[in-house]
């Protein structure tokens, strides 16, 4: 399968290369790159990734400026056509700021930047991203963020839970996120935003000191799902 993935780079992105390396490691195909000022994405994409970092220096609010950049109009249009989109960390913030995902990511409740490997519980096992996970299964994935405190109003949170749109919860909440939410899916399940960094956990288990390989499974799920489709 010709897996065509694009990684978007904003000024201040710093996990874009890690994301491209992860995508290539899992798919065997090198990822295309797109720049924030581009009006168009590469043609016929199978997958779009918004990476972590500090786009536009986190000016105004994390992800706010990137959400208004030219490339995001193309990303929103692609998402509306059903192209899968993964936003990690700052990419998750961009997805909420752009309206592709509900809620907002506020300053961590403890005020401090949190940088450690955390346990996630898989919640949804039905989406393209999560189909290979058992509900309740634990994954070890690193987090590194200052604004990861997921907020949405109660009605939105109830709807997300009722519709199976919580992808992951923290086992031990590191940032005050409502209902321990670590990752959220769009209504059609084709857009996933998550604060933890699966692209930092792709090395084989022998290299557990490099973050383990639980994150790799998320990318494997995507590729397996796209091949099957």
């Amino acid at each position: 399968m010709a897996f065509r993935a694009a990684v978007i780079t904003f000024p201040g992105s710093n996990c874009d290369r890690d994301m491209a390396v992860a995508l290539e490691a899992v798919s065997g195909k090198s990822a295309l790159r797109a720049w924030h000022g581009d009006a168009d994405l590469p043609d016929n994409l199978d997958f779009i990734a918004l990476p972590g970092g500090f786009s536009y220096g986190d000016y105004l609010r994390s992800g706010a400026m990137a959400a208004k950049s030219p490339i995001l109009r193309a990303v929103v249009a692609a998402a509306e056509r059903g192209v899968p989109v993964l936003g990690v960390c700052n990419g998750f913030q961009v997805l909420t700021e752009s309206g592709l995902l509900p809620g907002a990511l506020m300053r961590n409740a403890g005020q401090t930047f949190v940088c450690r490997t955390v346990d996630l519980a898989a919640v949804n096992s039905q989406s393209l991203f999560t189909s290979g996970f058992e509900p309740g299964e634990h994954l070890r994935v690193p987090v590194a963020h200052h604004d990861g405190n997921y907020f949405a109003d109660e009605a939105t949170l109830d709807a997300l839970e009722g519709d199976g749109r919580i992808a992951f919860r923290y086992v031990d909440n590191p940032n005050g996120s409502q209902r321990d939410i670590a990752g959220v899916l769009s209504e059609n399940g084709r857009v996933l935003g998550m604060m933890p960094h699966p692209e930092r956990a792709i090395e084989p288990a022998a290299h557990a000191s490099l973050g383990g390989s639980d994150g790799r499974r998320l990318f494997e799920n995507v590729i397996a799902g796209l091949v099957a489709a």
């Binding site: 208004k68 509900p102 809620g103 907002a104 506020m106 300053r107 005020q111 949405a152 005050g176």
Partner: protein, 83 residues
């Protein structure tokens, strides 16, 4: 025309920064502070005659995140600003 925009967290939204600052004020010995909320102030120079509708749109589309924040727009007279 000078315009001042105050962006504040909505009343029900927990403000961890405000709470930390409140705690610091307490530890400095300032009594009687009941609550601290932190927001953002944005000052803009805009063309005279910029409509309220346009200012509202600026706030809703970019300056405030309507999921968690409210905004208030204050138009300042030029004379007052130059004084």
């Amino acid at each position: 025309m000078k315009v001042r925009i105050l962006v504040r967290l909505k009343p029900g939204v927990l403000d961890p920064q405000g709470r930390a600052v409140h705690h610091s004020l307490d530890s400095l010995g300032f009594d009687g502070v009941d609550d601290v909320r932190i927001g953002r102030m944005i000052e803009m120079d805009v063309a005279d005659g910029t409509s309220d509708e346009a200012l509202n749109q600026m706030c809703e589309k970019l300056l405030a995140n309507m999921v968690i924040e409210d905004f208030a727009i204050e138009k300042l007279s030029n004379q007052a600003e130059h004084a």
